[in-house]
Amino acid sequence: MSNDTAAYMRRVKKAAKILFYKRHRQPGVKGWELRKTLGKNYLSIIELLNRQLENLDFEVKIVYETGEKPEDPTNEQLKQARFYVTLKKPLSKSELVLSGWRVDDVAALTVAIAYIISKQGKAPRKEVEEILREKFPKWRVDYNLNRFQRRGYLNQDDSGILYLNWRARAEIDQQTLLKLILAEKT
């Protein structure tokens, strides 16, 4: 192995260490932190890591501050973006149940997120509660909406408006979610 390759591999390992191990309250690492640790060409290191992770069905996902991926991200946008390692392929239903989520809680999360996406990313909590209360008791709706906020899926402002939060943006393929909901025969 040449010296260059060895140095690159060392940096790939370093990148894996930073991305996998949770060091802050929130998982993931900001672009500027990666640049500081891995150097200017941190994106090539991440690309190399991505190739290694591909075999294990993991991938490095970049979530931009605006929520949507810019067509040609600038250095500044990349520095402010958050990098996560996520599962590349979705979980099977049985794996999802094993992840510790109750089936009805997952359904509530799906409904809340789909409703908020359809309302352009924000909806009054009352409206989300109303729709959930058609199938779940009030106490469970309150408990779940608060829990989704604690986990980082949703965020609520002072005026009672719910938004999608960092975890929803990182973990949920919004387009697939809406497509599947619309494709489902009712």
């Binding site: 999802l96 009054p124 729709i131």
Partner: protein, 282 residues
């Protein structure tokens, strides 16, 4: 008399008209806010008509309150125009679906199917939590030094001597007060850091603060924290190698408090000081 009463009637009409116009302004503001917060259709707000009305009302405004409301209404209209822009962008993306259609579908789909849909669009974040050997050692040290709760709860002993006030000379002797101002002390310390670093550009945090006595080390760490906070030096933290460096600035940075900053807590106990001192002397 008649003229006066006619004037009064006219005055009250103007007043009433003003109140009505003001009410209209309030209605405009409330309409814009409700569209903004309830994610309603921003195109339902007739921006052009409202702007025409605002232009018509403007010459009538005399008092500050009216002008403030006018400005607020204009600001709300600006938000609506911005929302209209976002609305068009959103509708032109593939993510746009009629909210009613989604609402209808999610109401009809049963729980099991919703879970299935979620599992197909969910890519959970992989995160691991771990402790380094160093952290475990620190934790053990902390545990060993921690005084049992019962002992900590013991009352403080009552003072044996009578309480007296302390003179300025005594405070100076105890190093609680100083003749030199804090800024001067900090400036001198910064010069020391620059001299120590000289051509090397940066210096290890520990080699700079560790001194012959524990008290002096704490004092140097205390001053260093102010050097970093007040923009006299930069602290570089290498989390992977667990190393900290100090880089003095040529000139103190201005506007340090307007930038986003982070706090880096560094615990220094006697054992750590001893070990750092030993490694330094080696």
């Amino acid at each position: 008399m008649e003229g006066k009463s006619q004037g009064k009637v006219k005055g009250s009409r103007i007043k009433r008209k003003k109140i009505t116009d003001r009410e209209r302004l309030l209605r405009i503001i409330s309409l814009c806010l409700s569209v903004e917060y309830k994610s309603g259709d921003p195109f339902k707000v007739e921006v052009r008509n409202i702007l025409d009305s605002l232009r018509r009302y403007l010459p009538h405004w005399k008092i500050l309150e009216d002008f403030t409301l006018d400005a607020e209404a204009l600001n709300s209209i600006a938000s609506i125009i911005s929302l209209q822009g976002n609305w068009i962008i959103n509708r032109s993306t593939s993510l746009y679906v009629d909210p009613l259609l989604i609402e209808l579908h999610i109401k009809m789909i049963d729980t099991e199917k919703l879970v299935n849909i979620f599992s197909k669009s969910w890519h959970p974040i992989v995160e691991m939590e771990g402790l380094s050997k160093k952290r475990v050692e620190e934790a053990v040290d902390y545990w060993n030094q921690l005084i049992p709760l019962d002992e900590r709860r013991l009352k403080l002993p009552t003072p044996s001597a009578a309480l007296n006030s302390t003179s300025l000379q005594e405070l100076l002797k105890m190093k609680i007060m100083s003749n030199e101002s804090f800024n001067d002390t900090l400036y001198t310390f910064w010069q020391k850091l620059r001299e120590t670093v000289s051509d090397r550009k940066k210096i290890s945090y520990w080699s700079f603060i560790v001194s012959d006595t524990y008290d002096e080390t704490i004092y140097r760490a205390y001053l260093t924290s102010f050097l970093v906070t007040y923009g006299y030096a930069h602290m570089e933290v290498n989390r992977i190698e667990e190393e900290i460096f100090l880089i003095p600035y040529e000139n103190p940075k201005k506007n340090v408090f307007t930038e986003q900053t982070i706090s880096i807590p560094i615990a220094i106990d006697r054992n750590l000081w001893k070990s750092k001192r030993e490694s330094d002397s080696r």
